[in-house]
C-alpha cells in the first residue's frame, strides 16, 4: 500500500506576459513527489524549471500566471486556496532556497533575524527557541562559528556560507518540502562540494522532500532520487536517477549527456617568442597585493586556461595584461617587447592586439547599438575601414561566427539569444584583428549545449586565425575541452602550471588535486566516495 503523494501537479500550464500577449512557459506539466523524496529538475535556461519550482509553492512571479491544471499539496488545492492560506504554507511547510544567497538575503538585517522571521511569524516557535534552533542548524550545516555567525550581516559572510545559512533558514520550520533553485550554481567547485554535502545530509536527516533544480547533470546525479528532464516547458522524460544515467531514453537527454564529452586534444608545445609573456607580476588594489610574482607565457595558436576559485586573481591578471591595472612589479611582454604598463600609455596598435570577451554578454553589449555598429566600431577605429570595405568586413565577421549576415546585421542585442550575444562578443573582439583574446568566463552564463557551440567556434577560429587565447574559468570541464596549458591560481599565486594532459593526469600540488577532485562526476556515488576519501575513513556502509 503506497502512501499518498505529498505534491501532485497535473496538467499545469503557466503563461508569461510580454507586452500585451501571454505566451506559454510551462505547457501541461505533471509532477508527483512523495514524502522524503528528492526530485531533480534539469534542463536549459528557458525550460521552465524555476517557474515550475515556484508553482509548487502556488507562486507565480510578477508577469506570470498559472493558467491551467491543478497543484495539490498534501490535500490542499494551491490554486483555489485563498492567498492567505498559501501564505501560511510558504516558509512553514514549503520552503525555498534561491540561486544567489548573496542577493536573496536582505542586506539590512542580520542572518539570525531573517532566520527567525518564518518560525515567529508563522507561530511555530517563539523567538528565543528559534534562535537556539538556528545555532543548532548552523552547526549541522557545518558553518564555522555557529553560535556567532547568525549575528552577522549578509555582506560579512562568504557566498558558500550564505548558501548554507539559507538552507538552514529554509529548514527553520521543518518544512515538508524544500525547493532548491540552483543553489550551488554561483559557487566555486570546492565550495560547491561542502554545500552539496550539507544540503544532502540535512534533507536526509529530517526526511524532507525536495525539488532540486539545476542545469548541471553531475550535481543532480548526486542529489536526486529521480530526475525529470525539461525542454521548453515540456517534460522530455522522467526516471529514477541511476536508470536515467545508465540509459537515457530520449535523444534530447542523450544530447545533454554528450556535451560533457566534448574535448579536443592538446596541440603540440609551441616554440618561438610567445605572444604574451607575463613576468613576475605583482599587482593589487590599495595596500593589498592581489597578485604575487605571477609568470606565464601564451603562444600563438595556443590556449592557456587560468583556473582558480573566485578571488584567486584570475581576472586581476587579465586587467594587468590589458593595462587596466598597472602592476607594482614585473612586466608584460608582447612578442618579446615590453608593453607600457597602463593602457593610456599604449599605442592604438598595442591596444588592438589584445581584445577581451566577457562573461555577461548581456551587459557587455550596448543594448542601444545594432550589431552593425557593435562589430563595426572596432574595425573602423583600429583598422580605419569605411563604407563598402567596412560593410564587407562586418558581413564577413558575422559569417565567421555562424550568424547569417543578411538576417542579423541590423538587429539589436535584445533580439538575440544568450549564445548569439556571446558570439557577437567574439565577433567584436575579432573585428580588431588581435593576436591575443582574453576570454573571461565566457561560457559560465550559458547552457551546456550552447557552451559547446561557443567552445567549438572559438576552437575553429583559433586554428584559422592562429589566435592566442587566455581562458579564464572556474569550470574544469571547459578547461578539459579547450586548453593546451593550464595555470592554476590560488590567493594570487600561481600554484601549478603545465600541459593539460599531464596536469589532469598527475597533479603535483595539493590544491590542484583538491580542485580536480571537486569537479562533480556523473556517477551518483561520486560525492559519497569523495567525502569518504577526504575524511579518510574509507567507503561508508
Amino acid at each position: 500500500m503506497e502512501e499518498p503523494a505529498l505534491l501532485t501537479i497535473r496538467g499545469l500550464r503557466i503563461e508569461g506576459r510580454s507586452g500585451d500577449e501571454w505566451h506559454p512557459i510551462v505547457k501541461g506539466m505533471d509532477l508527483t513527489l512523495r514524502r522524503g523524496e528528492v526530485l531533480g529538475l534539469i534542463g536549459e535556461s528557458g525550460a521552465g524549471k524555476s517557474t515550475l519550482g515556484l508553482a509548487a509553492m502556488g507562486f507565480a512571479r510578477d508577469g506570470c500566471r498559472i493558467s491551467g491544471g491543478t497543484i495539490d499539496f498534501d490535500g490542499i488545492d494551491l490554486r483555489s486556496a485563498p492567498e492567505s492560506r498559501r501564505r501560511g504554507l510558504r516558509g512553514k511547510r514549503i520552503a525555498y532556497v534561491a540561486q544567489s544567497a548573496a542577493a536573496s538575503f536582505n542586506p539590512a538585517h542580520k542572518l539570525i533575524d531573517q532566520y527567525c522571521e518564518s518560525p515567529v511569524v508563522h507561530g511555530v516557535m517563539p523567538r528565543d527557541r528559534a534562535e537556539a534552533d538556528a545555532v543548532e542548524l548552523y552547526r549541522r550545516m557545518r558553518l564555522p562559528n555557529p553560535e556567532e555567525i547568525g549575528f552577522r550581516y549578509p555582506h560579512q559572510v562568504s557566498g558558500g556560507q550564505l548558501q548554507r545559512a539559507m538552507t538552514a533558514m529554509a529548514m527553520a520550520c521543518r518544512p515538508d518540502l524544500i525547493i532548491f533553485d540552483e543553489p550551488t550554481t554561483a559557487l566555486d567547485v570546492t565550495t560547491q562540494i561542502e554545500v552539496l554535502a550539507a544540503i544532502r545530509d540535512i534533507v536526509r536527516q529530517f526526511g524532507t522532500a525536495a525539488i532540486y533544480i539545476t542545469h548541471d547533470l553531475a550535481v543532480v546525479a548526486q542529489m536526486a532520487d529521480r530526475i525529470k528532464v525539461l525542454l521548453r516547458g515540456e517534460e522530455v522524460e522522467e526516471a529514477e536517477t541511476r536508470g536515467m544515467l545508465a540509459a537515457p531514453r530520449e535523444e534530447y537527454t542523450r544530447s545533454l549527456w554528450a556535451v560533457r564529452s566534448f574535448a579536443r586534444a592538446e596541440r603540440p608545445p609551441a616554440t618561438g617568442t610567445p605572444v604574451v609573456s607575463v613576468r613576475d607580476v605583482t599587482a593589487g588594489y590599495g595596500a593589498v597585493d592581489v597578485l604575487t610574482d605571477v609568470s606565464f607565457d601564451i603562444h600563438a595558436g595556443r590556449t592557456v586556461a587560468v583556473v582558480g576559485e573566485s578571488g584567486s586573481g584570475k581576472s586581476t591578471t587579465a586587467r594587468v595584461i590589458t593595462g587596466l591595472l598597472p602592476p607594482r612589479k614585473g612586466e608584460v611582454l608582447f612578442n618579446g617587447k615590453p608593453l607600457p604598463s597602463g593602457f593610456k600609455a599604449r599605442s592604438r596598435d598595442e591596444l588592438r592586439q589584445c581584445q577581451m570577451i566577457y562573461q555577461m554578454a548581456d551587459t557587455a553589449l550596448n543594448p542601444k547599438l545594432r550589431l552593425r555598429e557593435l562589430i563595426g566600431r572596432p574595425a573602423e577605429m583600429y583598422l580605419g575601414l569605411k563604407g563598402k570595405a567596412l560593410e564587407t568586413r562586418i558581413r564577413d565577421l558575422l559569417a565567421l561566427i555562424e550568424l547569417e549576415p543578411g538576417k542579423f546585421i541590423d538587429r539589436l542585442p535584445g533580439e538575440l539569444s544568450g549564445g548569439q550575444k556571446q558570439r557577437i562578443g567574439i565577433a567584436r573582439a575579432l573585428a580588431a584583428e588581435p593576436q591575443l583574446i582574453i576570454c573571461d568566463e565566457v561560457t559560465s552564463a550559458l547552457d551546456q549545449i550552447v557552451q559547446e557551440g561557443i567552445l567549438k567556434l572559438l576552437d575553429r577560429l583559433q586554428v584559422e586565425l592562429s589566435l592566442a587565447y587566455m581562458f579564464i574559468t572556474h569550470d574544469l570541464a571547459t578547461v578539459k575541452a579547450i586548453a593546451d596549458e593550464v595555470v592554476v591560481m590560488q590567493h594570487g599565486v600561481v600554484v601549478e602550471r603545465g600541459r593539460k594532459a599531464a596536469l589532469f593526469a598527475d597533479p603535483k600540488e595539493d590544491y590542484t588535486k583538491l580542485l580536480l577532485s571537486s569537479v562533480p562526476e556523473m556517477d551518483p556515488d561520486w560525492l559519497n566516495r569523495l567525502l569518504a576519501e577526504r575524511s579518510g575513513s574509507g567507503p561508508q556502509a
Binding site: 516558509g91 512553514k92 534561491a98 518564518s118 511569524v121 550581516y153
Partner: protein
C-alpha cells in the same frame, strides 16, 4: 562606530569650507548690487560732503578685501554688524525672525514628512491601484501650482470663512496654541508644496526594491505584503528617502519667502525682501549665509543618517 565620527568630522570641515566659499560669493554678489547705501540713508537731498562723510563713517571707502575681512571676522564672533536701515544689530534682528522661520519650517515638516512617507509607503504597497493614482495625481497637482496660488486658494477656502486667520501677528505674549492656529495656513501651504516630492521618492525607492531577489524571498517565506514592504523594502530604501526629506527641509527654511510675504509672516524671508529693497546689504549677507548653513547642515545630517541605516557601511567585514 569610529568611522562614523571620522566621517562626521570630515563632513563638518568640508561644510565649513563650503560656507567660507559661499561667504566669498555672497560678499562678491552684494558688491555687484547697484545703489549707494549712503544715498539711500541720507535721501536725495544730501550734499556731496555729507555723503562722503557718511561713506567714510560706514567704511564704504575701504578696499573690498578689507571690508570682507572685517565682515567675516565679525560673523565668526557672532556679530553680523549693524543693520544700516534700522540701526539695530543684525544678530538681534535676525535672531527673532530665524526663530519664527524655523518654527514654521518645523511645523510644516511635522505635517509634511509623516504624511508623505505614509502616502509613499501606501502607494507602493497598493501600486497601480486607485489610491496610488489618486494620491499621485493630487500631490502632482499641488506641486504644479505656484506657492502663492496655493496660498491664495487656501485663504479663499479656509480664511474667508473665518476658520483660520490669513495673517500672522506674533507678539511676545502669543501662546503656543495661538501660534499653531495662526501659522496653520502657511504651514499647510508649504506642506502641499513639498509633499509630492517626498511621497513620490518614497514610492519610487520602495518599488525599485520590490523586484529584488530578497523581496521575492520574503514573499516565499510567506510574509504578508505589509510586512514585506515595511520590514524588507523600507530599511533598504531609507538612504534616498532621507536625502529627499533633508532637501525638502532645507527648502522649508530657505524657500518660504513667497509664503511669508503672502501671509505677512514675520520670518527671515520677509526680512530678506525688505533688506533687499532697502539696500540693507549687511542683512542680506547675513540671511544668505544662514540659508547656506541650513543647507549644509541638513545635508550633513542626511548623509550621516543614510550611512547609519546602511549595515554595509556600519559593519564592515
Amino acid at each position: 562606530m569610529n568611522d562614523i565620527w571620522r566621517m562626521i568630522g570630515q563632513r563638518l570641515l568640508l561644510g565649513v569650507l563650503t560656507l567660507f566659499i559661499i561667504s566669498v560669493v555672497i560678499f562678491g554678489a552684494t558688491e555687484l548690487l547697484p545703489g549707494d547705501l549712503a544715498r539711500e540713508l541720507l535721501g536725495q537731498s544730501a550734499t556731496e560732503e555729507t555723503l562722503a562723510a557718511m561713506r567714510e563713517q560706514l567704511g564704504l571707502n575701504d578696499p573690498a578685501p578689507l571690508r570682507y575681512w572685517n565682515w567675516l571676522t565679525g560673523v565668526l564672533q557672532g556679530d553680523f554688524g549693524m543693520s544700516m536701515a534700522t540701526k539695530k544689530p543684525i544678530s538681534e534682528l535676525v535672531g527673532v525672525r530665524l526663530g519664527n522661520t524655523l518654527f514654521l519650517a518645523f511645523y510644516a515638516a511635522a505635517l509634511a514628512v509623516p504624511v508623505s512617507l505614509l502616502l509613499g509607503v501606501l502607494a507602493a504597497l497598493w501600486r497601480n491601484s486607485i489610491f496610488d493614482r489618486a494620491s499621485n495625481a493630487m500631490a502632482l497637482t499641488a506641486i504644479s501650482f505656484p506657492e502663492f496660488f496655493v496660498a491664495y486658494i487656501l485663504i479663499l477656502w479656509l480664511a474667508q470663512s473665518g476658520l483660520f486667520p490669513s495673517m500672522v501677528r506674533i507678539t511676545g505674549a502669543t501662546s503656543m496654541g495661538e501660534l499653531l492656529y495662526m501659522a496653520f495656513l502657511p504651514a499647510l501651504t508649504l506642506t502641499l508644496v513639498v509633499t509630492a516630492h517626498m511621497m513620490r521618492m518614497t514610492r519610487a525607492a520602495i518599488i525599485n526594491l520590490l523586484a529584488s531577489p530578497y523581496i521575492e524571498m520574503a514573499r516565499l517565506k510567506g510574509m504578508s505584503p505589509v510586512r514585506v514592504v515595511l520590514r524588507h523594502a523600507v530599511p533598504n530604501a531609507l538612504a534616498p528617502i532621507v536625502n529627499v526629506v533633508a532637501l525638502n527641509l532645507a527648502y522649508l527654511i530657505t524657500g518660504v519667502v513667497v509664503v511669508e510675504v503672502v501671509f505677512v509672516y514675520p520670518g527671515l524671508g520677509q526680512l530678506m525682501i525688505d533688506a533687499v529693497s532697502n539696500r540693507d546689504i549687511a542683512v542680506v549677507q547675513a540671511i544668505a549665509l544662514i540659508f547656506a548653513a541650513a543647507y549644509v547642515l541638513l545635508n550633513l545630517i542626511a548623509d550621516v543618517l543614510s550611512t547609519i541605516t546602511n549595515p554595509r557601511l556600519m559593519h564592515r567585514r
